[in-house]
Point group: C2
Chain length 702, copies 2
């Protein structure tokens, strides 16, 4: 990754606005006046072929005419003249450019070509480019105060970094945040990302001292692997929250027509985000709800929440939500209980949720919050207020601010209502105490903070490297690829699995009935017989499978039966022989496999076997490589864990062996990108060990 | 149900405030001044033993001293003197009373007794009472403008009726609604409901012309059956939305300590609400989100939504949300497409979601909304706006109002942001066009409206009445009850099921091995043998079950084997014999049963059999009686439907027979309240017919 000229983008000493105009209400004019007004200290040079001045400032015909050095160019010309403008920026020696103009990749083939041309120019002059087709860049750092965007307003300075693929969404986000006094460190709409992409920007924000929390809006994850690598490198540095739309196929179609990009599966994206430690939000509100909890408050040590309220109903709602979000209602220490008992009226509920009762004024909230905040059995507090006629809302808000200052635990508030509580909410917002209209949102946000704590505490786990027979595996795969056979035959598939140390059943390939009887005799009865032919994919459908053959006679007959049946259905099938395989004992069935995702590459799938996977979609995914812990968590995430652990008094199955299979599969997926799809269905797990019953492996033979 | 004096409560000609004081900021004073200021036209008489005047108005020592007739008394005395005050109200001939005072049932045994005393007085004088322990009553009808509550402000007049068990919550709700310009018809906090309860109030609101939609906040459903009956009687009259907290056991515990009432299972409540057509909301925001969609807009005919947006990102989010909520993205007619193509710029997306692009002004929204609203392929519209620098927010809001006036479909808006979009939102709110901060909430609300449409269109379905052998069933149950046996023995259980027409397997009770062989011979092999003893509940655990016995010898041996095994484990077990039963063929297993809920009475349970129910909790519930349609829907709601319909190429099972079993079970549950629990596990379903394999029936023998 070539390093990008971020210093010039976010902290330029001078800026040229290339294509500025004097028409108010147009993007070229808005951009120029936004930079002028935002408080940016350094010189700004309007470049405008048709104007002598722009908003009173002397304008230059071409950027090359500017007689001073320029750090950053913001191009706002129509798309048709952008490449000329960019060329001149290069000649001028400008190292950073923001191209606001639309009309490129997002409009189709012609635009795509124009964008490629821009890229060539940028590369030639070693220029770093944001855009095209974006809202621009805002740096709210008070030392520079740069609004190089056509957003209506400059946001407050804060410690949240925001990156967005959508430009139009940014205006809504800025307005939303402004209304809640949420500030930003950097705010970037990266548009078509012809040069600088979300991964570059993420790295910049990871290193940016002004940024504590990073928010990311994406419509597609085109750089899955790079994102993964970046998150691994910056592990535990800062919380990253992502909102990715295009969850459904209709949404994806809408996103495609909007961004012109191809999206991978949302399930994979979801799994990958979790694997990377990216917190996914479902909508803008959730995203900011989580962000303020993570940015403004310390992290909770664990999940024990205390609820303080002046109204029973909302206390009940909060308790419901806490439990549903996996939080625990803290049990207070005897000391806390004693304090609450003395400080609160007799009718107050001094158990969690603590009800200070409707007529409570600030003193009661003080007593409750102060004592509870010091209780070691409490990891976080949700403070609820309803506007009763005697509630001194502002005093209580101020009291909350005082208590919060002394606390080393998260405090989240919900002053419920609208108009009456507004002034109290404003006090909380000014002091960066997270406020939520609903107590439920407070609980959900605290849960998210707990999950982030758990992520940080997640033990290190390595990707295991197994001794395998690589050369043999390579030979099997390459042979099939060379033969243009996209499916491995079953004996080859079994052999490949065996190269990677997977337990397979004894088997042999019989060319005739006598062979079959001999093989069966060698491996012992009962056996299973299956047709082996590249022309037969669904063996059972053509009568190509016989199970539970008990003796030589049955095997002999079986050979003929299968051959005849397959011949009858597929006259010209190229039959390689019949596989005679030891019949597996019954055990707990699971499935696992490999898929390829356009964004994230190889993905390992695991799930309960049989009817569960088909009917319940009880599966889980991980991108490769997976660690030992990943493998363990995969198993635990599915119902198969309960089954494997010994359900209904059954003896526990060998979970360790399943884990190892998953890790070996991950290694195989890493080693052989030729494998486009692999399905082990089922893997039968016993008290000790396991066996692959069937493996279907598809290769890319293109 | 005695009729209540609602006219005097909501439309009194005169009011006495009994216990009013002159201390501002106290409930007794707030109530009086609230009534004074709200605009209530008729005379108000303060009753205050210690004051000559209250807020300048002449005060009376006792209510009996008021020399004029009084329609409604509002009692605000401390709890200790309430009964005296109520007694005097009775003597005065007052027919309606609101008791605001707290300190009754919610405080424990003593308070409970005081409340009972109040009830006795009320009954004696035929007075209707709201409360005690409540916020009061508001009637926002402009003809009376009554605020007989200690809420801070009078709400706007509107057509939403609100009933709340929690008083404190009401203040938050009123403040929330005020902020969004949501008005109310009637607003009632019913507190401890010693006389008038939520069911009475619901009936009143069903009949109230000013009320279009009813909202209900509950912490427990103590009157499940009454609610059911009421909803049945008023079917399809008005949408009822309920918010019931206490979903989790922790929440329930909090609710109990708050309201002092015992709650039933939340799953049953959820099922019952759906069965009644009550729309359940998860929190206050959801409740009002749904309420404004249902109250302000026509119902959608079906689920085809059109999305119009000026920003791609939110369009994608809305599309995601629409799909996730079961809506369909409408496909526009060729005419609409043509209009959109001509009216919108080349870069605009004219497919659904329609993107009028960031620089759109009102004219483009007009073109899009007007054409789409007339398209017969569209059932509802979600209109999204983000505040771009050139967006004329207020003009667009006004345009939306104009279009909406001409429409016969629901139009829901999301002007995304905060400060900049506020004035536009206000215009929408003033014109009662539902507005949501998130497009996702708009989609969810439209989904709720679609579901309500579907509820209204739900075909009528009757409760079937089967011919059964009632007297025999009664005999079986009464015998067991008289013998104080809480579990029916298996032969009795099978006989009872048989009385209700359930298909059971051929069986007989053997007292000795010879009996057993004879019975087996009569019914045909293979057979199953099971110990019959009231002392043995878990038959398999003591070796009391043998299956798949193929011949007389095995049956003979089996008798001894079972007897010995049971004797070895339970020496003194009272063995009634051994049941010899035809062994069932294998088929699709399902389970069904009866449970009793403290709120809703008998509940029918249905689910997939075997591992599914234990591991997946794949069950569904209905209160009795169930209709044919209920039974059908129950089956369809579980995964068993897929299995029964013929999964993986299997032949379909006899779903009709399962349906009938459910209906018969419902009839049994209605007929015999003595049955506290019944489990059929499994019922095996075949291509034709089904069989009960095991039935466990528990009776109330107290």
């Amino acid at each position: 990754m070539k390093s990008k000229n971020f210093q010039q983008i976010f902290y330029p000493a001078s800026i040229a606005v290339v294509g500025a105009t004097n028409t108010p209400g147009t993007v070229p004019n808005d951009i120029f006046t936004n930079i002028m007004r935002s408080g940016f200290p350094g010189p700004i040079y309007p470049v405008s072929p048709g104007n002598e001045t722009i908003s009173g400032a002397k304008a230059y015909k071409y950027v090359l005419d500017v007689p001073h050095p320029v750090d950053l160019a913001v191009i706002v010309f129509p798309s048709s003249v952008c490449s000329m403008a960019l060329e001149q920026c290069g000649q001028k020696g400008i190292k950073a450019v923001i191209i606001i103009s639309a009309g490129f990749k997002e409009t189709g083939q012609k635009g795509k070509e124009q964008e490629l041309k821009l890229k060539t120019i940028a590369d030639k002059y070693n220029m770093s480019v944001i855009g095209p087709n974006c809202l621009g860049v805002i740096n709210a750092d008070r030392t520079i105060q740069l609004n190089a965007s056509f957003a209506r307003k400059m946001p407050d300075e804060g410690s949240i970094g925001f990156l967005s693929q959508s430009g139009a969404l940014c205006t809504a986000v800025l307005d939303y945040a402004l209304n809640k006094l949420i500030g930003f460190s950097k705010f970037v709409s990266f548009g078509n990302k012809m040069d600088i992409n979300e991964v570059d920007l993420l790295q910049y924000l990871f290193d940016d001292e002004k940024t504590k929390t990073i928010l990311l809006y994406l419509e597609e994850v085109s750089l899955g692997k790079e994102l993964f690598e970046l998150m691994r490198k910056n592990k535990n540095k800062k919380p990253v929250l992502a909102l990715k739309s295009g969850r459904t196929s209709a949404g994806m179609a809408a996103a495609q027509s909007h961004t012109g990009s191809l999206a991978g599966s949302d399930e994979v994206c979801d799994a990958a985000f979790r694997q990377m430690g990216i917190i996914r939000a479902k909508n803008i509100e959730e995203m900011f709800n989580y962000a303020i909890a993570l940015t403004y408050q310390p992290l909770p040590k664990s999940n024990r929440v205390a609820i303080v309220t002046n109204a029973g109903g909302p206390g009940v709602m909060a308790a419901d939500s806490a439990i549903e979000n996996g939080l625990e209602l803290a049990k207070f220490s005897p000391e806390t209980t004693e304090i609450l008992k003395n400080a609160l009226p007799r009718m107050a509920n001094i158990k969690n949720p603590v009800d200070v009762i409707g007529d409570a004024r600030a003193d009661r909230y003080d007593a409750a919050l102060t004592s509870i905040s010091k209780d070691n059995n409490v990891d976080g507090i949700v403070c609820i207020l309803t506007p009763q006629s005697m509630t001194d809302i502002e005093s209580i808000a101020q009291l909350v601010c005082r208590v919060e200052k002394e606390m080393d635990k998260p405090l989240l508030c919900s002053f419920m209502g609208g108009t009456d509580v507004a002034s109290g909410i404003r006090i909380l917002e000014e002091r960066q105490i997270p406020h939520y209209t609903l107590p439920e949102s407070a609980c959900q946000s605290l849960k998210t903070a707990v999950r982030y704590t758990n992520w940080l505490l997640r033990p290190e786990s390595k990707v295991k490297k197994f001794e395998i027979n690589y050369s043999k595996a390579k030979e099997i795969i390459e042979k099939s690829v060379n033969d243009k056979k996209s499916y491995l035959t079953e004996p080859s598939a079994l052999e490949l699995m065996s190269c990677y140390g997977f337990p397979i059943l004894k088997h042999g390939l019989a060319k005739n009935p006598e062979d079959a009887v001999k093989i069966a005799g060698d491996i012992g009865f009962p056996v299973v017989m299956k047709i082996v032919s590249s022309d037969v994919l669904h063996k059972s459908d053509v009568g190509g499978v016989l199970v539970d053959l008990q003796n030589s006679e049955q095997v002999q007959e079986g050979f003929k039966k299968i051959s005849d049946a397959v011949r009858a259905k597929k006259q010209d099938a190229d039959i390689l022989g019949i596989l005679v395989e030891k019949m597996a004992n019954s055990g707990q069935e699971v499935i696992m496999g490999i898929k390829r995702d356009p964004s994230f590459g190889a993905v390992i799938m695991f799930g309960s076997g049989g009817i569960f996977v088909e009917l319940m979609k009880d599966i889980t995914l991980r991108t490769v490589p997976i660690t030992e812990l990943d493998a363990e968590e995969m198993i635990k995430e599915t119902k198969s864990y309960i089954l494997l652990s010994g359900f209904r008094g059954a003896k526990p199955s060998d979970i360790q062996s399943v884990k190892e299979c998953l890790e070996r599969l991950s290694q195989m997926a890493m080693d052989f990108p030729q494998i486009t799809e692999l399905d082990i269905n089922p893997l039968v797990v016993y008290e000790k060990g396991c066996h692959i019953i069937d493996a279907r492996i598809m290769l890319n033979v293109q």
